[in-house]
């Protein structure tokens, strides 16, 4: 393995991080939106959300990526590999995040909400001042654990040719006919990325004030 090989795997790691960050950043608010639709029982859409979450949670990331990249052009939506990968990863993580946010919403103390209603708070203010600050703390551990799972499922996008870390390692191995060293190097890089995230999760959990955890 020469220097360029190491560099190509590092570039793959960068691609992995970019894809993960993009899909996480988009997936968390999208999951919140879906969870709110279910919580508020918006007449027609909450059933679609139920079906969507059930479908996507059982769909492998590989199959979803292949579907979005190869099948959507039949309906006129042709995406480049990177946007297609981000879309597939975002849709997948949004489904899981929806359940996490929903659990936090369901466990939200009803009496606070009723008190806000009694004070005639408009809906947006209710959400912004009362509901949101509390549920995001309750949802945080679940969201971070989903983030680690999301990072670990990014190799699925290798099937549409994106050179993320696994595909970069595969290419190096195919060229040198010595497959193990690049994969070990890729594993080390991956371990670092996940390790940083788990550390961040511990730090965030520890910094939460005790009262909010109650």
């Amino acid at each position: 393995m020469n220097a360029f090989d190491y560099w190509s795997i590092v570039q793959g790691a960068l691609a992995t991080v970019v894809l993960s960050v993009a899909s996480i950043a988009l997936g968390i608010p999208l999951g919140l939106g879906l969870a709110l639709i279910r919580w508020a029982r918006v007449p027609f859409f909450h059933r679609i959300v139920v079906a969507y979450v059930s479908l996507i949670r059982s769909c492998p990331a590989v199959t979803l990526t292949l579907l979005i990249f190869f099948a959507l052009p039949q309906f006129g939506i042709s995406l480049d590999p990177t946007p297609a990968a981000i879309l597939a990863l975002t849709l997948s993580t949004a489904a899981f995040n929806c359940e996490i946010w929903r659990a936090a919403l369901i466990n939200f103390p009803r009496d606070q909400y009723d008190a806000a209603l009694a004070f005639a708070m408009p809906r947006r203010l209710r959400f912004r001042r009362i509901v949101m600050p509390q549920i995001w703390r309750a949802a945080l551990p679940g969201l971070v654990s989903e983030m680690t799972l999301q990072i670990k499922s990014t190799p699925a996008v290798a099937v549409i040719g994106i050179v993320e870390i696994t595909r970069a390692a595969l290419r190096v191995g195919a060229r040198t006919y010595d497959p193990l060293p690049p994969f070990v190097f890729a594993l080390v890089l991956y371990g670092l990325i996940v390790f940083v995230l788990i550390r961040a999760q511990r730090v965030i959990e520890r910094r939460q004030p005790v009262e909010a955890r109650a």
């Binding site: 360029f4 190509s8 059933r47 679609i48 139920v50 079906a51 059930s54 990249f69 190869f70 099948a71 052009p73 039949q74 309906f75 006129g76 042709s78 480049d80 590999p81 009723d114 209603l117 009694a118 005639a120 099937v159 549409i160 040719g161 595969l170 290419r171 191995g173 195919a174 060229r175 006919y177 497959p179």
Partner: protein, 289 residues
């Protein structure tokens, strides 16, 4: 002030969820069939207005197209560089695994498959081919020291090929012939790979006994690893390799054909063939449709 009372109905909620799911599925399927129309291939005026054509190239198919030191290189990519100078519009290239290239052209995602597409009668039904870029026959290759000395020795062996490739189709046809010749027993198992480098690695490891590919690619493989691999015999019929567009997309075809025939006349194509493929094919027809 109305406080919402939520009634929980444990017996019927599961039934309601199931009904919800079925209803949404039915709606989704109806919507799908309703709006099913393929993205259409661009016509000449659209291309002139747009200023570019989109092509898809395979990411790892030596010696036609592969990535070396971060750059797309190989016979097809070098040919593209020359065509770009002559064609008059921009060419936007996307690199991806083989299994997405031809379906990408049929669904209108790409104007052309700029790749080593083998011309077969089956493919002529769905695609129009540009002026051919070289000739090809499907061969098989084995590991050096293998017990397979001829095509008939493939009976009872495991053979690999790439998903969606003409070499895979040739292999399957050859398998039918073997079965007829040897009283029903043919190749033990045909393994489909996403791309050839993985097939070659499995061949080197002994997971497959042989790999089917064009003689050009296999010769290139044996040249780089003469101590590991050995090329065998042909198992398919001679044919041509050409770039493919969706059937009826004559505007893109005319542009590309004009550029390719110019390169043939100037001799640049034959020089590239000599450089990458080890031989020049001067007797190819101008059109293979």
């Amino acid at each position: 002030m109305s406080v919402r009372i939520i009634r929980r109905d444990p017996v019927h909620s599961k039934q309601r969820t199931a009904v919800t799911l079925f209803r949404t599925c039915a709606l989704a399927l109806i919507a799908t069939f309703g709006i099913s129309h393929a993205a259409h291939a661009a016509s000449a005026e659209e291309i002139k207005a747009r200023g570019y054509i989109t092509v898809a190239t395979e990411d790892d198919y030596t010696p036609f197209e592969f990535v070396a030191d971060g750059k797309n290189t190989g016979y097809d990519n070098d040919l593209l560089a020359l065509v770009r100078k002559k064609i008059g519009v921009e060419v936007k290239q996307q690199v991806m695994p083989w299994s997405g290239i031809l379906p990408g052209v049929t669904t209108g995602k790409y104007d052309m498959a700029l790749s080593a597409v083998l011309v077969t009668d089956e493919r002529r039904k769905t695609f129009d081919f540009a002026s051919p870029t070289c000739e090809a026959i499907t061969f098989y290759a084995t590991k050096k020291g293998s017990s397979i000395k001829g095509p008939d020795d493939l009976v009872g062996k495991v053979v690999g090929a790439e998903t969606g490739s003409a070499m895979l189709t040739d292999l399957k046809l050859f398998n039918e012939e073997l079965k007829k010749k040897h009283g029903g027993s043919g190749i033990k198992q045909i393994v489909e790979y996403q791309s050839y480098p993985e097939a070659y690695q499995d061949l080197a490891l002994g997971r497959v006994d042989a790999v089917a590919n064009t003689q050009i690619s296999l010769n290139s493989l044996v040249k780089t690893r003469p101590d590991t691999f050995l090329i065998g015999q042909p198992i398919g019929k001679p044919t041509y390799i050409a770039w493919a567009v969706k059937k009826g997309n004559t505007d893109v075809l005319k542009m590309v054909d004009a550029a390719l025939l110019e390169l043939r006349k100037s001799g640049e194509m034959y020089q590239l063939q000599q450089k990458w493929l080890g031989a020049s094919y001067k007797d190819m027809p101008q059109s293979v449709n």
